[in-house]
Symmetry: C2
Subunit: 410 residues, 2 copies
Amino acid sequence: MKKGYKCVVEQNGSAFTAVKGFKAAGVACDIRGKGDLSRLDLALIVSDVPAAAAGVFTTNDVKAAPVLVDSEHLAKARTARAIVAYSGVANACTGKRGISDAEKSCAAVSKRLGVSADEVLVCSTGRIGDFLPMDKIMGGIDKAFGSLKSEDGSFMDGARAIMTTDTHSKTVVARVTGSFGSFSIAGMAKGAGMIEPNMATMLAFFISDAKVPKALLKSSLKWAADRSFNRISVDGDMSTNDTVICLCNGQSGVSAASGEALEAFKEALLGVSRALAKMIVADGEETTRVIEVEVSGAKTRAQAEKICRSVANSMLVKCAWFGGDANWGRIADAVGYARTGVDFDKMDLSYDNVAVLRKGVVKTANADKWRKVVAGKSFSVRINLNAGDASDSVLTADLTEGYVAFNKGE
Amino acid sequence: MKKGYKCVVEQNGSAFTAVKGFKAAGVACDIRGKGDLSRLDLALIVSDVPAAAAGVFTTNDVKAAPVLVDSEHLAKARTARAIVAYSGVANACTGKRGISDAEKSCAAVSKRLGVSADEVLVCSTGRIGDFLPMDKIMGGIDKAFGSLKSEDGSFMDGARAIMTTDTHSKTVVARVTGSFGSFSIAGMAKGAGMIEPNMATMLAFFISDAKVPKALLKSSLKWAADRSFNRISVDGDMSTNDTVICLCNGQSGVSAASGEALEAFKEALLGVSRALAKMIVADGEETTRVIEVEVSGAKTRAQAEKICRSVANSMLVKCAWFGGDANWGRIADAVGYARTGVDFDKMDLSYDNVAVLRKGVVKTANADKWRKVVAGKSFSVRINLNAGDASDSVLTADLTEGYVAFNKGE
């Protein structure tokens, strides 16, 4: 069946103004305490009208204060009006004071908007265990309201303000047009280290002018996150702060509650999510290559996922990728220690489309070809277990000396 | 109750001759194909009489040929006479030819001894996916029989011959004396990379002159391995070849089938296992520190183990250890993403005996003291969940730029 709509996903670019009824700002308030007011560190996103809101959060047992506060706000309030987010301090492992600090941020924003504090969501990213400098945050919120605008530049400033060890900001927009009308979704994200979302320190904020009921927004967001952010891994370290939030304010006049409009909304949401997820992996701390690990022919999707993660997180495999070394033995080893009941003598393995193993037998004649593939900046490792028809994939990066050097110091 | 025996465990030293009725050799036969005949690469251990034998092997789905062959030999034969082991080629992922090559090695040794091939065990360690140079192996076996001796130096040569990326050989001896008489256990091991036994490329061979029934030897060996080799992790990568084998020839005249003699045998076996396991971690590829992660106050031992492994294998935590950075937030994060249901507000954390967290609250006043601890070459991370009385521990190492550099190339 031919789709009756068009969905175009675009990285960066002048995108924000496509989404109706939102304003944004990114300002500097020296949260890191280094006296550096050139580094943006506080982002504010405000919807002109009450928006349906949904969030997907870290499943870590140790949850940061803002994650706990947002979960409660989303449960309590029917709609949301704003997201305030800052970088430098994670506000994780900070006990009651951390919760109180997160609530104070929401209260400050809600007071300015004349709404309930429950309608404001708050996010932090940065070092675990430190308390927030609340005087600076309060000043930053004032400053942000002063520069709140419905301009592309303001959204970009917000995306820059949530960066920690990211080397560049990450924004994506999807524009949808169909018989139902036109709407857009814009998203910003930050990533870099401690990235194995489920969720990982990853933050992503989406805004859309589609009209989507809250329950449907929640299930759509979870569906998209499972197929994008929850399928990437830089270092296997899942953070305490991972958060994806989506606000839909309906200002396009398009209802995406069912039928093709809903289909288009989900496609756009997944498109934005996947594009941002890929940008996060590509910008992993000191990484040099992006690798997609695909497992097919599995008995169950759970088996495929377990093997994907085992390979994607193997230190030895990641070191080999860094060196452009086609050491397939390490991959076979990692497939095996996932301990899912793999029969090696049935297993196929390819780098992109170049066969390395066929039913467990190595195709040595292809060695020059596969060495070429792994010398590239981006390639796929394709594993077929030939045992069923389930599959999964994970996007990951190599492990470099630079990553270790980057993460060894205070 | 006072023990009626004495068990002394000693690293290296002139130990082998304490164990009666065994001979050993280590020779060079250029398995790596580099024309280097100064590097020992084939070890042979022979018992003068049939010995009770037991093995513990990798639980990786992808098992190397010698692992498959040994499992079969141990199941078939009542006793064993010899172990032949070589380094440089893992003989893993080598299909039927790999199995046949492993069997040929056993046959060559058994022919010399005039016993069945099932009474010979074979081990390989090295690169996955390559075939063995069988002509060289055959020559090496001849050479080994020529230099087989009951001397300390021969056992040390054997320990050197199984080394891959180890920087030094690893041998330990335990001498037991009691009312039941005297017996000894000597062990050799190799480790270095791909080390998260369960089992990991770790090989360990024990010989003892105690008399232990086969079934009891098997359960004792599993018991000791679970408390030693299966509680270490260098890089979280479990190998295809991990093997621990123990031969008991009874030549001391002491039966360790029950009572205090059995107790002493198990204590000695565990002592040798733990000492070798610690030597393996300390000699991990380019590692600089040895860290014991201890979890207590857990609801179950499985929960404690899961958290130990999550912390011990976290890339970010290992990088911090390398830098001597007391970044406890990363440890809290890894405790949480084990997702076992930890209540952070109940958790205590210490570096050695210096409190870092008490019921989730950071003891900042101790910061200078705990920085001193993590600057050391060896320390403990002690986590108390205060939720039950189960506990576990894992011995691990840091992650260094050197490890990445070492493992990135062909």
